[in-house]
Structure formats: C-alpha cells, structure tokens
C-alpha cells in the first residue's frame, strides 16, 4: 500500500509539473531578442541668445545651393529687405555642395553678423 500511495503521489507530482508546462504552452508567449542597434547619446547644444530687435543688425541668408533654388533665395532676401528695411540682409553662398561644411563662412557670420537664415532642402 505504501508503494501504491508513493506511486500515486509521484503521478500527482508529474501531473502538476506537466500542468504548469501546459499553461505556458497554452499562453504561448515567447521571448525574442531586440533587433535594434545602439543609438548614440545626444549632447544638447544651448541655443544662442536672441537680440531684442533686428534694427541695425546684419542677418546672413545662407544659400546651401540645392539645384534650381536661386530665384527663391533671391526672392527671400528681397522680400525681407522690403518688409524690414532697417535690417541689413546679406545673401551668401555656402561653398561646395549641400553635404560640404564651410567653417570660414560660419566664422565670418559670427564675426560680422547678428543672425542667420539657413536654407535647407528644395
């Protein structure tokens, strides 16, 4: 009898284990790896303080030279000059294509200018 009971207890233990396994199977959830890569940290750059007024100031209009956009860039300068005549609006071309940096221009703007409008895209 002792043997039979042990056997039955054994069956019960098996039943429990199997049951737990079956619940997991019925729930059917699986665990998969994250497919994405490692993004870099972002260093926030403080924005430059704005002046109270643009009167008497020099603002550069920087053309990054996307194809066939010159008429728009010139129209932007002319419209701003007409609407805000007390500001000195200076149109400049960045060197090279739109992928190329132009540190000399940024230095010039910093030295002589009080602000810049940079045209991006087309």
């Amino acid at each position: 009898m002792k043997f039979v009971i042990r056997w039955l207890v054994g069956a019960f233990v098996i039943a429990s284990v199997v049951w737990a396994g079956m619940v997991a199977a019925a729930d059917g959830k699986i665990k998969v790896l994250n497919p994405r890569g490692i993004m870099p940290a972002i260093k926030q750059i403080p924005m430059a303080e704005r002046p109270d007024t643009l009167d008497g100031k020099t603002i550069y209009i920087v053309d990054t030279k996307f194809a066939n956009t010159k008429p728009f860039v010139n129209a932007l300068r002319d419209n701003l000059a007409a609407a805000y005549p007390k500001t000195n609006w200076v149109g400049v071309d960045k060197v090279g294509g739109y992928m190329q940096d132009d540190p000399n221009l940024w230095a010039e703007i910093k030295a002589k200018g009080h602000g810049a409008i940079v045209l991006l895209g087309h």
Binding site: M39, Q44, P51, M99, G115, I117
Partner: protein
C-alpha cells in the same frame, strides 16, 4: 554657430527637420517651412510663397522668420547636457508569435514581409556561423552623411540574420556587409539602390546561385543575404523610416533584394579576373563588394553588331542622362564572346567602353539644350565645344580615372562616386544577354575575417 539662426525648410521635410534638430541636440531649433518644392520656382512663384503662410505652423512666413531671430528663448532652449534616448533591453517583452510578427511590422523592423522570430535559441544557433564573440562591435552605420550613426554587435547582426531567414553559414557574409557600414537604404530625395557581389569559394559552400535566374527570387542564400542587409540597415543602421531617415521620393524596387548575387567566376574566360581580384584581394579569398547606383536595365536586344559595339552604343546613350558611372553585368557567354573579339581582360573592355562612349557633339547638344543656347551666345567653354563639330567628342571629363587605393575608407553614403566602369559576369548562358546600370564600386570587405 553662436548666432541666432533660423532654418528654412520646405514642408515636405517636416518630420525630417524635427527629428534632425532633436538628434543634433537642438530640439528647440527655430524652423520656418515653405511650400514644397522651391526648386524650379520662378521669382513670381517665390514671391507668392513668401507673402503666404508657413504651411506647417500656419503663421505668416516673414513674421515667423523674424520672430525666430529675435524672440526670447524658452529656458529649455538654453540647456546643455545629455538628452536621454530610449532604452535598449536585450530582449523584447514576451508575447505570442503572431503578436510579435505584427509588432515587428508595425514598428517597421521588417521590409514589410514576415520574419523568423529571433528567439535566443535561434540566435545562438546563428552565432555558430562565426568564431567572433557575440558582444564584439561590428561597425557603425548611418542613413547618409548628416545623420547620426548607430553601432551594433555580432549578436545584433545575428538577430537580424535570423529574421531575414539566413542559415548560420551565411553569417560571415552578412557580418562582412555590416562591417562596411554601408546602408542599403541611403537617405536622399533620390531613390538609391545598392548591390552586393560575392566572390570566392564561399559562393559554392553556401550554395548561392550564379546561374539561371541569379538576380531573381530563386535561391535562399542570395535572397536571405540581400534581405538581411535591408534589416541590418533599418534596425542597426538607423535607416529606412520614410519621412525622417528615408527620403527617396518614389522609393526604389531594387531595395527589396539589394541585387545580391555571386559572380559566375568559374565561367569567366581565361584572363578575366573576378571582381574581388580586380580590387586587390586574392582569388581564394571570400569577399563582398558593395556597389551603389539607381537604375538597372536588362537588355534583350539582338543586333548584327559585335557585342562590344551594342554595349558601347547603349552606354553612350545611357550616359547622356546618367551619373557617368556604370556597371555592366554580362552573361558568361557574352564574356566569352567579348574575349574572343579581342578583349583579353575585363579592364581592356572597360577601357574600350570608357573611351568610345564619350558623347559626340550631336548627342551632347541634344541633351544639354541650355548649354547649346549658351554656346550659340558665345559663352565659354561651350562656344569652343560647339566649334568642334557634330561628330567630335565634347571634352567633358566624365571619369576620374584614379581608383581608391585598397583599404581606403569608402565614400560616405549618398556621395556621387567616381569610379571606372565595372564588368561582372553572372547568368546561366541561356542567351547572349547583358544588363547595365549606373552602379559604381563603393567598397569591399573580407568575408573570411568574419568566419
């Protein structure tokens, strides 16, 4: 820049401008949007744009620009320090297979097609394809020059390889592609395509198809390796979200398989070197070569002319509109014919094409009408070109004949490459056909290094 700045962007790049400003550390950047496009607008059309409202904010455009340059900054705009990115747990939250499949779709972690879900067991099995450690950094990749670069480990590449349906023995090829840092989904408003050519004995070891239908959907290795590149580009290279990290206006259908195929090396005529040997690798090395372009023409055109002249004539016309780059993919039986016609090497044939496909006057002027007008008005150098006559070649330098030295860093994604004409053999010899496109060589990487 250190001075107040306003960015002016056309409204088509709304999402791009916002996400870029964030990633570059200036989430408060002042941006004014114009109607799209500004390219090709006349002065009158431009004036109309500028007198109207920013189509995104709805505010008058000129007032908004001026306000951006002089209005007081908010406190958060003056902050420095690090901006937190979303966390990167190694595992995703558990879910059912069906839910995970749809989640991968909804997050754009696939190419629109189902994936093999990357369980730990499957990724472990995949990692058996390389001796490299799971946490080794493979490289970094970005959608194009101005974008941020993401980094990735061997395990992350293996995860995407599982998803693409690759076998472990393909993993060294996929790691080699990932190691180049070249995205297959270049972000430009033009819709780039990429190509990956595999050379060396691994082609047969992993049963790639270089014969009938090699460029099409007929082989697991060709298809899964090509697709793995797309998934690596999206998930590890930060590429491929339309509107922010992908801007190709129409998109390019060649991006589905990324033109991934092995060269039919054993069927090259004697003296014709496989692509990797041309680029300085040894014949017995396993190498993947990356090429970049846009267009693919498969030419089924019979002519009584010898093949070199048919190809040359086609190229002359193709070049009148292209980038000046070209890759010619010839069936091996065409390669044999070209060899028999006197071209002892690929390089000799490429040199012939380069020399003979220069634009004669009549073709140049018919595709460059504006220059023709200038030439007639006496503007130089066009006026001098015109004096050369209809049949003389216009001396426009199409090729920079130098080639990057072996091991030189690859040109950044999106840069127009300047390389010689490439000639690659693939196909099953069922006909004397060939294909041509504006692809050019970007870089090559050792597959053996990733075994």
């Amino acid at each position: 820049m250190g001075v107040p700045a306003v960015a002016m962007v056309t409204s088509a790049f709304d999402e791009l401008a916002t996400s870029t400003a964030f990633k570059k550390g200036m989430p408060g950047l002042r941006v004014s949007f114009t109607p799209h496009p500004i390219t090709g607008r006349t002065t009158e059309e431009s004036n109309e744009y500028l007198k109207g409202n920013d189509p995104v904010s709805g505010k008058p455009m000129l007032t908004e620009i001026v306000a951006g340059l002089q209005a007081k900054l908010a406190e958060q705009d003056k902050q420095a320090g690090e901006i937190k990115r979303e966390e990167r747990p190694r595992f995703l939250a558990e879910d059912t297979a069906d839910n995970l499949q749809q989640m991968f779709q909804d997050n754009m972690w696939t190419d629109g097609l189902p994936v093999i879900l990357p369980t730990e067991e499957k990724v472990k099995a995949m990692l058996k394809g390389t001796s490299h450690k799971a946490d080794e950094i493979v490289g970094e990749m970005r959608p194009s020059g101005p974008h941020e670069a993401w980094k990735y480990t061997v395990e992350m590449v293996a995860t995407n390889a599982v998803m693409a349906g690759a076998k472990p023995e393909y993993l060294p090829v996929i790691l080699a592609i990932a190691s180049t840092g070249q995205t297959s989904l270049v972000s430009s408003t033009s819709s780039f395509a990429r190509m990956a050519v595999i050379n060396g004995p691994i082609r047969d070891e992993i049963q790639m198809n270089s014969s009938i239908g090699a460029l099409g959907p007929f082989n697991q290795a060709n298809a899964a390796i090509g697709r793995a590149w797309t998934l690596v580009s999206k998930n590890l290279g930060g590429s491929g979200t339309p509107g922010s990290t992908y801007l190709g206006s129409t998109g390019n259908p060649l991006n589905y398989g990324n033109m991934t195929f092995p060269e039919a090396e054993e069927n090259l005529p004697e003296g014709w070197n496989p692509l990797h040997v041309q680029k300085g690798f040894k014949k017995e090395e396993n190498v993947v070569s990356i090429l970049s372009g846009w267009s693919f023409n498969t030419i089924a055109w019979f002519s009584p002319l010898p093949q070199q002249d048919v190809i040359k004539n086609w190229l002359t016309h193709f070049f009148s509109f292209g980038t000046g780059s070209a890759t010619i993919i010839v069936d091996p039986i065409v390669a044999v014919e070209l060899k028999n016609n006197g071209f002892a090497t690929k390089e000799q044939f490429a040199a012939y094409l380069m020399e003979k496909s220069a634009n004669p006057g009549w073709l140049y002027w018919s595709t460059h009408e504006e220059e023709y007008k200038k030439a007639k008005e006496g503007v130089e150098p066009f006026a001098s070109y015109l004096k050369l006559g209809e049949t003389a070649e216009v001396p426009v330098s199409r090729y920079v004949r130098r080639q990057p030295p072996p091991g030189a860093p690859a040109a950044p994604a999106g840069m127009p490459p300047r390389n010689p004409i490439e000639v690659i053999a693939v196909g099953g010899g069922t006909n004397t056909y060939w294909s041509g496109g504006d692809f050019s060589y970007v870089s090559g990487a050792s597959i053996d290094k990733w075994k």
